[in-house]
């Protein structure tokens, strides 16, 4: 699956696509692949405040739970409620239909510390090399 150029990426495998002062956040294809079949997603409520690098939710497979870390700080303005009934979308379309939350950025400057698509792909290529070593 390609990594869109208009996304920015964290080293915990979240992505954010910014439009104006709002960002859409999700997890990357690499993350869903590592997790395996997703069975449940726990997300915050609309109105919740999130902080960069802090966990704002969890993604569960049968055997593991992973925290989801906020790429930026801000207020949650939308939550993808379709995931409650179809968590499997996170496996099939992590960069599109399975977005997690939309957040109003409180500090757009935080975006500059995130990776672009090329840097992220290099990052995960190294991770894959480490894993098979």
């Amino acid at each position: 699956m390609p990594y869109p150029n208009d996304f920015r990426y964290t080293d915990e495998h979240e992505w954010i696509k910014v439009s104006g002062d709002t960002g859409t956040v999700g997890i990357t294809d690499y993350a869903q692949h590592e997790l395996g079949d997703v069975v449940f997603v726990e997300l915050p409520k609309v109105g919740a405040k999130i902080s960069a690098h802090q966990s704002f939710g969890t993604v569960e497979s049968v055997k593991a739970v992973s925290e989801i870390y906020a790429p930026v700080s801000g207020e949650v303005v939308a939550v993808n409620s379709a995931l409650a009934n179809s968590p499997e979308q996170l496996n099939s379309d992590p960069h599109g239909a399975a977005w997690l939350i939309k957040v109003k950025l409180s500090n757009p400057g935080e975006l500059s510390s995130l990776m672009d698509a090329a840097a992220y792909q290099k990052y995960i290529a190294e991770k894959q090399k480490e894993a098979s070593a």
Binding site: V39, F40, E60, S61, V62, K63, A64, V65
Partner: protein, 449 residues
């Protein structure tokens, strides 16, 4: 030694295969300073016959030959010998936790049936595969309410079993959960007015027991309304499961914490018993304990698995809903077998016998001068009587007639030293009840020493 399937020569063969000259070599990794040089000073070894003699001698020092009117969370009920015949099958008794589902379908299907039966009995949507007992189930229910609501205060009825309240206090002290006790009224029920003033939007749960420690039924729908008005949860504890054969289940409760000892488990001096938490489907991910779910294999055959394990300690570790790992599976299995044997009509009839016998006993006791019923609410098989003198002293007299009398409430409620809790079940015979009444009459007629 009969439990060790090795001959001396086999041990030698195995040591040789390992390349060790003696078994001591295999313990060389333990620093010499820590290795014992002499055998432990322990009684035994005993043969099977001697072990049985030992425990028979201990049994003879207990209460065999006495008639008991004790309840208070532990009940004498009929249990069929079929339960033990099935329970002692090695495939149930000596099997492990069903993590490997393909070779544990017997255990898993039985747990699924247990969960289903508990839902049917309590009127709730989902039940877990057991907690240690009613006291820890009630405690875990309070902690669950804390997680669900995000609030950290609970209101606990003083009419809840005193030892259950003590257990919650121990867990609460370390978790920041604040527990406030609400008094009971002269009827023996929770003081609803006091509850109404105490409930607020900081309260996670209102915790009651029904039938409560005094045997009295609480008004569950009214209490639910008070709790829900402030979006607090109603947690209902049940210590006498047979009551659910006649008493309507607490359907308005958000969480039910039940003790299942009455379903085919012997009193056994306090354990092992079986606790259950039952609740609404929407709270299932906050529920502690194991859960069994129905599923299929690749060929579409129905099977059962442990599920939603991400709540539990072995995956979630420090963020788990509870630290519970080993539960009371075999006890839950016994309860399942027992309830299947009793069945719908059997449980209803058993409950009706409890109701009938308890009322007979009460009527007999009320004929005795000086004896009156205290806490006059609706009741199942336990009731409180008030005597003109200390219950403890009266019980000493009853013991001479080989009767274990009512629980002296003064032990737990200092202001109630003249009140005793009487329990009568379907196992209590008419003759025993009449003997009890006669003995009590005699005891009260004695001048005070």
């Amino acid at each position: 030694m009969r439990y060790l399937p090795k001959s001396p020569s086999e041990r030698q063969e195995m040591l040789a295969a390992i390349g060790a000259k003696s078994i001591e070599e295999l313990f060389a990794s333990i620093p010499a300073a820590h290795r014992l040089k002499t055998p432990l000073r322990l009684p035994g070894p005993l043969s099977e016959m001697e072990i049985i003699e030992f425990f028979k001698a201990r049994a003879a020092e207990n209460s065999v030959g006495y008639t008991s009117f004790l309840g208070a969370g532990v009940y004498n009920h009929h249990r069929s010998v079929v339960t033990d015949a099935l329970l002692q099958r090695g495939e149930f008794l000596t099997s492990y936790t069903p993590y490997q589902a393909e070779i544990s379908q017997g255990t898993l299907q039985a747990i699924f049936e247990f969960q289903s039966l508990m839902c049917q009995l309590t009127g709730q949507e989902v039940a877990n595969a057991s907690m240690y007992d009613g006291s820890t189930a009630l405690t875990e229910a309070a902690l669950m309410a804390e997680r669900v609501t995000g609030r950290s205060r609970v209101l606990m009825a003083r009419s809840v079993h005193p030892e259950y309240r003590q257990v919650l206090a121990t867990y609460a002290r370390n978790s920041g959960l604040q527990v406030e006790e609400i008094a009971f009224t002269a009827s023996g029920q929770l003081d609803a007015a006091a509850l109404r003033s105490a409930v607020s939007s900081e309260v996670a749960a209102v915790i009651v027991q029904s039938p409560n420690f005094f045997g009295v039924l609480e008004e569950i729908p009214a209490l639910a309304e008070i709790a829900h008005a402030k979006e607090a949860l109603l947690v209902v504890g049940i210590t006498e499961g047979v009551s659910l054969g006649a008493v309507r289940p607490p359907a308005e409760a958000d969480i039910v914490a039940m003790e299942g000892q009455s379903f085919g488990l012997t009193p056994s001096y306090g354990g092992p018993f079986v606790g259950v938490i039952a609740s609404r489907e929407k709270y299932v991910r906050q529920m502690p304990g194991r859960l069994t779910g129905q599923t299929v294999d690749a060929q579409g055959r129905r099977g059962f698995v442990l599920t939603l394990a991400t709540r539990e300690q072995h995956i979630r570790r420090e963020k788990a809903t509870s630290n519970i790992c080993t539960n009371q599976a075999l006890c839950a299995l016994a309860a399942t077998m027992h309830l299947c044997l009793l069945g719908k009509e059997g449980l209803r009839e058993q409950a009706q016998q409890n109701l009938s016998k308890a009322r007979f006993a009460l009527a007999e006791l009320e004929k005795i001068p000086g004896v009156r019923r205290a806490f006059p609410g609706a009741f199942f098989n336990e009731f409180v009587i008030e005597l003109p003198r200390s219950v403890k002293l009266v019980n000493a007299a009853l013991l001479r007639d080989k009767i274990i009398g009512p629980l002296a409430l003064g032990v737990f409620y200092p202001e109630l030293s003249k009140r005793g809790l009487v329990c009568v079940t379907e196992t209590t015979t008419r003759v025993e009840m009449e003997r009890f009444a006669a003995s009590l009459r005699r005891a009260l007629a004695q001048p005070l020493e």
